[in-house]
């Protein structure tokens, strides 16, 4: 069967606001860069299909599928849209390549939250209309906070350790390329922050950013015709939970646990601590990476390991070593591809020092934001 590889990437934005561009112009810029990075492919003659991950309510356009083809060079081609995080699109592209029916598939995703004036109400629209919405929670992140609190309580993680994660991640972001919110703060400042919804402060939520990301995925045999600088997608899997956290076990991240079992099986990974060099994890709300660390069994005692700095840039289990969503911003459905871009650049050696030159495998994780627990994991390797 064909081995899927990432042949090229391109992006635009990763800024708090991109009012000089409309979203289609941003996607065009990202696509043009991706096709160039992929060895100069022509979307009209070289690409077999296109997959876009997006959500109508983020767009302000219903049935936004119709607006996908133009700026990707996908006119008169097969185009699929998925209402989900962009790593779910990578899973689709991976499967299409593995089927042998497609040689090159382009994945696109974008987010332009700076154009959404009523974000709170749109997030509320994602909740059960009959049971939850009439409760009219003043803070729509109350469900995330409930999860955070339960997880931290059951796993004995205190706020100082959570603050340590946040502060470390914001500092790591200073070394990245797409991080408008990276900064230097200290834990004392974190602990003095007012609660937004307990136990979370505004520092625990990634601010919003606008971005478009395009990734060219190809079978290895075809990729070789364009470039020998590609990165393999060794495995990818996605798991969905129920529609409400009240039915889930809040002590652990079951979705990540199941997805990890599958991707480790697909890639032959026996010991993720030893075999995976970098972890690119969704941190749009700060407790989520801690749940993922636990679910991946990277740590028996997350609180202790956070305080010891095991997940910092110099730690033995670097998580988001060039900053994650807390630094780059929340780019909505494009988040999964943002993690993939970091992994791609680290594995190609264009991001990071010699410290990462011997990294062979990177795990990337994204969980659909804000209330879904649908989780996708992928392993990228040299």
């Amino acid at each position: 069967m064909s081995q899927p590889v990432v042949l090229g990437i391109g992006y635009s934005g990763f800024q708090p606001s991109t009012s000089h561009y409309n979203i289609r112009e941003m996607i065009y810029e990202a696509a043009a860069k991706a096709y160039e990075d992929a060895g100069g492919i022509d979307p009209g003659s070289d690409v077999d299909a296109f997959v876009s991950c997006q959500e109508d309510f983020w767009e302000g356009i219903s049935i936004n599928d119709e607006f996908v083809p133009d700026q990707l060079g996908a006119v008169l081609k097969p185009v699929y849209t998925i209402s989900g995080d962009s790593l779910q699109c990578v899973l689709s592209a991976y499967s299409m390549i593995r089927s042998g029916a497609f040689d090159i598939v382009v994945v696109e995703s974008h987010g332009k939250p700076s154009e959404i004036l009523t974000m709170r109400d749109i997030i509320l629209m994602s909740y059960d209309p009959i049971y939850i919405r009439p409760l009219n929670p003043e803070n729509v992140f109350v469900f995330n906070a409930l999860e955070a609190k339960a997880f931290m309580e059951y796993n004995k993680i205190d706020r100082e350790a959570l603050g340590r994660y946040v502060i470390s991640s914001l500092r790591k972001g200073l070394r990245g390329r797409r991080n408008p919110y990276a900064s230097i703060k200290n834990v004392e400042a974190y602990l003095e922050e007012e609660y937004v919804v307990e136990p979370l402060t505004k520092l625990d939520f990634a601010p919003y950013s606008d971005a478009a990301v395009v990734v060219v995925i190809a079978s290895e045999d075809v990729a070789k015709k364009f470039s020998d600088e590609y990165i393999k997608i060794s495995g990818v899997w996605s798991v969905s939970g129920t529609s409400s956290i009240v039915y889930d076990d809040l002590r652990e991240d079951t979705m990540t646990k199941i997805a990890a079992r599958k991707v480790f099986d697909m890639t032959g990974i026996k010991d993720p601590v030893r075999e995976i060099g970098v972890f690119e994890i969704d941190e749009r709300i700060s407790h989520v990476p801690l749940m993922v660390i636990k679910a991946l069994r990277l740590s028996e005692d997350v609180n202790r390991d956070l305080m010891m700095g095991r997940f910092d840039e110099e730690g033995d289990l670097p998580v988001n070593p060039f900053g994650g969503a807390l630094s780059e911003g929340n780019v909505l459905e494009a988040h999964g591809l943002a993690r993939l871009v970091n992994a791609y650049e680290i594995l190609k050696g264009s991001l990071g020092s010699r410290r990462y030159s011997d990294v062979e495998k990177i795990l990337i994780h994204s969980r659909r934001w804000p209330s879904s627990r649908t989780t996708t994991l992928a392993i990228l390797s040299r």
Binding site: A32, D70, Q71, R133
Partner: protein, 176 residues
């Protein structure tokens, strides 16, 4: 298993409505960027000009403009001012709204292929501008006499223009 076998009593529609007054009223508001190409187009309308871009590779002219050609996937940076006159490619009359409410007056809309100075009608590809058509009778539309009719933009007075598509009130038939 049926709810009746479980011994429950389901709410009737009336009872349900008494409890849930309002299920859905989306409050979805956006402030969308026009972008580089549309900004030029709308600024042009305010000045009484219709601006497009054209693709040097395939010859397609885009009105409103795009900064890329969807067919050739190349960047478009050649601007062209087109005439505010052209021919009707196709037109229809609406008698009811999409919610099936009868309109007070039927509305005629069409696709207009605008003239491009310096180019003959067949020397360029033109996807057409969508707009209201005025000065045509319903019979003109039904009989298809409207096809190929010459139309010209009826502009709002300059002091009333806002830089949006309604700066042109409609395209008025000047010759069928």
């Amino acid at each position: 298993m049926s709810i009746y076998k479980l011994g429950g009593t389901p709410l009737s529609d009336e009872e349900f409505k008494k409890i849930i007054k309002e299920i859905t009223r989306p409050n979805a508001k956006y402030l969308m960027s026009a972008g580089q190409a549309y900004s030029v187009f709308f600024e042009g309308l305010r000045r009484g000009k219709i601006i497009g871009t054209y693709c040097e590779r395939c010859g397609m002219i885009y009105v409103p403009p795009k900064i890329f050609c969807p067919y050739c996937f190349i960047t478009l940076d050649k601007w062209v001012e087109v005439a505010d006159e052209g021919k009707v490619v196709t037109a229809v009359a609406s008698y009811y709204s999409a919610n099936m409410e009868r309109l007070k007056e039927p509305q005629i809309v069409g696709i207009i292929k605008l003239d491009v100075p310096g180019r003959t009608f067949t020397s360029y590809r033109f996807p057409g501008l969508l707009h209201r058509i005025c000065g045509a009778s319903l019979d003109d539309v039904i009989s298809q006499r409207i096809f190929d009719a010459r139309v010209k933009a009826r502009w709002r007075p300059p002091e009333e223009r806002k830089g949006d598509i309604n700066d042109i009130e409609c395209f008025e038939v000047i010759k069928t």
